[in-house]
Point group: C2
Chain length 215, copies 2
């Protein structure tokens, strides 16, 4: 069975997955890079940039799961680009000509456009669809592999609320953002649907994993 999985989704102690003031070059707003410093220090991240080095402890093990057995990604419009990208017909995403997905990527937007084929196996498709319909299309494209739900927080919350997410890895970073977009709103009693584990690591973050019960 092809699962829907969330990986490396970082939030602050106060639950914000994105800060305020998203703009070109500032996809996380006033949070800057602070939600992801734990990941930038891993071997996984170094290797993705073609380099060597980086930590190979627990943070690295969790981070590496991001790409394992994934055949497609679903993301929200706010991850694909800064506010207003829909007004630029030539916009091709925030990752340059060779995006790090190497798979079909389904971008949820109320203003869909023709698909864009990028280098390295990434094709962006644009859907105005419900979570369940988007998941069906992504599964069809994933060739029997799992589908990754890439965020941002609103999209993850929507898919979780509809019971579509099989596995979720959330990384809690010991900072307080104070403002932005919360991950947890409207998900009361989520623990009834998931087995939850918490693991703190020496970098200071806490990895939370959610495994859907009975699947």
């Amino acid at each position: 069975m092809s699962r829907l999985r969330v990986h490396n989704f970082a939030i602050s102690l106060d639950g914000f997955g994105t800060g305020e003031g998203q703009a070109p070059g500032r996809p996380f707003g006033h949070a800057g890079e602070r939600l992801h410093e734990w990941m930038f220090a891993t071997h996984y991240w170094y290797a993705m940039g073609g380099g060597e080095g980086g930590g190979t402890g627990a943070d690295d093990a969790f981070a590496t799961m991001h790409g394992q057995g994934i055949g497609a990604e679903i993301m929200g419009a706010g991850k694909f680009g800064p506010p207003g990208w829909q007004d630029d017909p030539g916009y091709r995403g925030a990752w340059g000509p060779n995006p790090p997905f190497h798979s079909p990527v389904f971008v949820l937007t109320h203003r869909p456009r023709p698909s864009i084929e990028m280098r390295g196996g990434t094709t962006f498709h644009f859907l105005d669809a419900s979570p369940a319909d988007a998941l069906k299309q992504a599964r069809d494209a994933a060739g029997g592999l799992d589908v990754r739900l890439g965020g941002g927080p609103t999209i993850i919350r929507d898919f979780v609320a509809e019971g579509l997410v099989d596995h979720m890895h959330v990384v809690q970073v010991p900072i307080l953002l104070g403002r932005g977009v919360r991950l947890w709103d409207g998900l009361e009693s989520l623990e009834e649907a998931y087995d939850i584990e918490a693991v703190s690591t020496p970098s200071g973050v806490t990895h939370l994993t959610f495994t859907a019960k009975g699947r």
Copy 2:
């Protein structure tokens, strides 16, 4: 120097320290006892009830710090009793004739009343005072020992925002309450004032400690 300390303050993953619907016998509202099951399983808790047994691992070590070197407590009106207790002139708190504080306790309320001396060394004093003034009075009463800030979430947030808290131990429990009173609101960039550690334990909770920098 007498420090102001918070201990065993439990919150849900989504940051609520109290649920909705506080009432007599339900001090945490719809959260019930779910925020404190980790503590009820410790030797510390068993011993406080006069019993034997309970776990003696990391949860117990953290829990036991609650009473170490404390000479007075400050608490909010919402911890002293359920909504409306101020209308009952005979109300003597939620803990029976021998409350577990065994020290002076300063209850912050806009409707102060005469002090109440209980059994076992606990005396309740009622103050309509600013956080700084309340702390001064509690320190005077603590005889050189530390002062504990007992909660609820609003009181802790107020004292932290004024820079009065030296040490804070927050226990994050893997449940989502969805509603209630949040601990973290209005505390953006708290990590600049505190060294923060996170430690997950086998019970599933994560202990967060905040140590004020440069004190």
